[in-house]
Amino acid sequence: MSSAITTGFTPQAKARPPRAPGENYLNVAFGVKSWLLTTDHKRIAILYLVTLTILFFIGGAAATVIRLNLMTPNGELVPADTYNKLFTAHGIIMVWFFLVPVVPTVLGNFLVPMMIGARDLAFPKINLLSWYVFTIGAIITLWALLAGGVDTGWTFYTPFSSKYARTNVIPTMLGIFISGFSSIMTGLNFIATMHTMRAPGLTWWRMPLFLWAHYAVSVIQVLATPVLAMALILVGVERVWGVGIFDPELGGDPVLFQHLFWFYSHPVVYIMLLPSMGITSEVITCFARKPIFGYVFIVWSSIGIAVLGFLVWAHHMFVAGQSVYSALIFSALSYLVAVPSAIKVFNWTATLYKSSIAFETPMLFAMGFVALFTMGGLTGLFLACLGVDLHVHDTYFVIAHFHFIMVGGAVMGYMAGLHFWWPKMTGRMYSDFLSKLAALIIFVGFILTFLPQFVLGYLGMPRRYHVYPPEFQVLNVMSSAGASILAVGYVLPLFYMLWSLYAGKPSGPNPWNATGLEWQTPSPPPPHNFDETPIVTTGPYEYSMEESALVH
């Protein structure tokens, strides 16, 4: 037995590699290969940013056609089956290929290692692999959606999806199944990173709230995604071999699929939302120049949302034939989720109280987030109420509610984060005027698009129909008009942010005068993030009222 090979290892902290002046993660290497084979978390974040931006606009294009079609009661633009395929494509792309990954993979990938003072995520190669897996899944699904399409709705309800639908159900699900592994890899990476790679002195209770939000999200990603994978496998098996797993004629139970599906797809709402809540906590405390109010409460509310989020799935099935008693319990549990969400809103409000607020662009988006999320959350309580849900189930009320949460909430938060950390990611400032204009346009456009849909739903307009009674036309035209404003608001950042790469003013390491380790290093950051391992001695939000007078 000759086991002794020398490794040259000494168990001491190792020195960071020296770096040339001005060297950063963008200019350290050039060429396609240096991007496609990178294991640098910052470059992978940029890869995701480009991929997801493309997917966002494809999903948005589907929504545009839907809204154009709904301008007239008879839906002259597209036939009914095309309409079904359009809303399915919109839902699938936006949920699985934009909202779920966007904040964790773009901002999370970029910032989690920087905020904890590490050189990289725990598993850099798995991080790169996750981008490939995601992209392959996205391509398969996009191909399936474009070459023939799917008409099941993004929810794939059985037995329609497993037996009757004659569209590309299997390839679409295959793409979602594959991309699910990318979600698991990201979550796994974040949890391991936060547990083992925090800088000296960065205790759990000194972690920025952005990290806590990502911790909660990662737990959901790791625990919920496999259940969806299993549900999709079962639908696939039933579809291919015609065995009755969810087919009542053969002894199967279609509602069981809904249980499996929502066991993933309800927590998934919190995958979309929690990271944006983390962003909002960072942005509000920075531009209020005050330590966050109730740090510990916000942390526990994130964890609370992650835990309770797993216990409310059956509120999507109040009219699906489940027992009255379980409906009652799930209704009560759904009300409970409002508690941690409300704690966050109250704490953000309390942070703003008597602070000196600077209305920079990220702050405008964050304020928009708080306002729209509050409305979305409150209407969610209407839906958690059994009696009201019977009335508005599967109507535009539901559509408006979850768009307030996902677009008004998650996307607004993402925009806040993107504008907040863009100078860190690129080293450039975007146009102040245009970005504030975009924030305003998105807010106004959003309200105009989705507020009428609450009314429509309450009056009884069902979702997923491509025609409607003529008396609903005024409200539908209002909604479509709002959607066109919203579209302008989303296209605008594409231009001024790209323009900032050419003509933007250099931002310097810390343009917002923010706390947090990511601001202690040059912009764009060096390949290994920090020239020396930072040591943390204070909590995350050491803003004081006195200094604010000097800064703003």
Binding site: M1, S2, S3, A122, F123, G187, L188, V222, V227
Partner: protein, 231 residues
């Protein structure tokens, strides 16, 4: 990556941190795996409770002999896997290689038996769609049985999905073990760098534990007679 494979990756401070991170990552992955098997176990349990007689009838026809032998084989492979981890940590290269190869052998035996079993199931007309005779289930020795063939079929579908998923995990595990053998032959698995063996070990034990649940759920639900003990 260069061929001299730096033991400490660039983004870790020291080996202790690297070890901790790697094991921790594997545990999180196993949590994911628990949920994926948990989902299918739940579905199975729901139908098992709804159609108890049909599920018992189908279970009684599964090959208990091969199922039992495979249980012994798989548990033995867990022992050799655990010994491989031990051998790496104390730096016994020859023992490591032997144990890894034994684990591969036992894993291969399991999969081989599984293939034989599937083929037997096929001959016994226990494969829905491919080979399944609905009429043989409705009468037991000429007497009407309160059994619905489509519910029997449901049980068998779950049997194939669950054992198939388990076998797929075994195949992945075999691939990982072969990778370990290559690493071990190059002398790269040492007391300093024992993590790969430990992590694969965690995975392998997990797959074994899944089987421990599959055996009673699938095979021991129905009543078997001594005459059933055949290949």
């Amino acid at each position: 990556m260069s061929t001299n494979h730096a033991v400490l990756a660039h983004h870790f401070e020291n080996l202790e941190q690297q070890r901790e991170t790697a094991t921790f990552g594997m545990w999180i992955f196993l949590a994911t795996e628990v949920l994926i098997f948990g989902a299918i176990f739940t579905c199975y349990a729901i139908y098992r409770l709804r159609y108890p007689l049909d599920f018992e009838a189908a279970s009684a026809r599964l090959n208990i002999l091969i199922g039992s032998i495979n249980t012994i084989v798989l548990l033995s492979s867990s022992l050799t896997m655990a010994l491989s981890v031990h051998a790496t940590r104390v730096g016994r290269q020859q023992m490591l290689l032997t144990c890894l190869l034994l684990t591969i052998l036992l894993g291969g035996t399991f999969l081989g038996f599984k293939v034989v079993e599937y083929y037997e199931d096929y001959k016994e007309k226990l494969v829905p769609v491919l080979a399944f005779d609905p009429d043989e289930w409705t009468k037991v020795e000429g007497v009407e049985a309160p059994i619905q063939p489509q519910h029997v079929q449901l049980m068998l579908v779950f049997y194939y999905i669950m054992t198939g998923l388990h076998a797929a995990h075994m195949i992945v595990g075999m691939g990982l073990l072969i990778w370990l053998v290559i690493e071990a032959r190059r002398g790269w698995l040492t007391p300093v760098r024992y993590m790969p063996v430990e992590i694969v070990g965690l995975y392998w034990h997990f797959v074994d534990i899944v089987w421990i649940f599959l055996l009673p759920l699938l095979y021991l639900t129905g009543t078997h007679h001594p005459t059933d003990l055949h290949f």
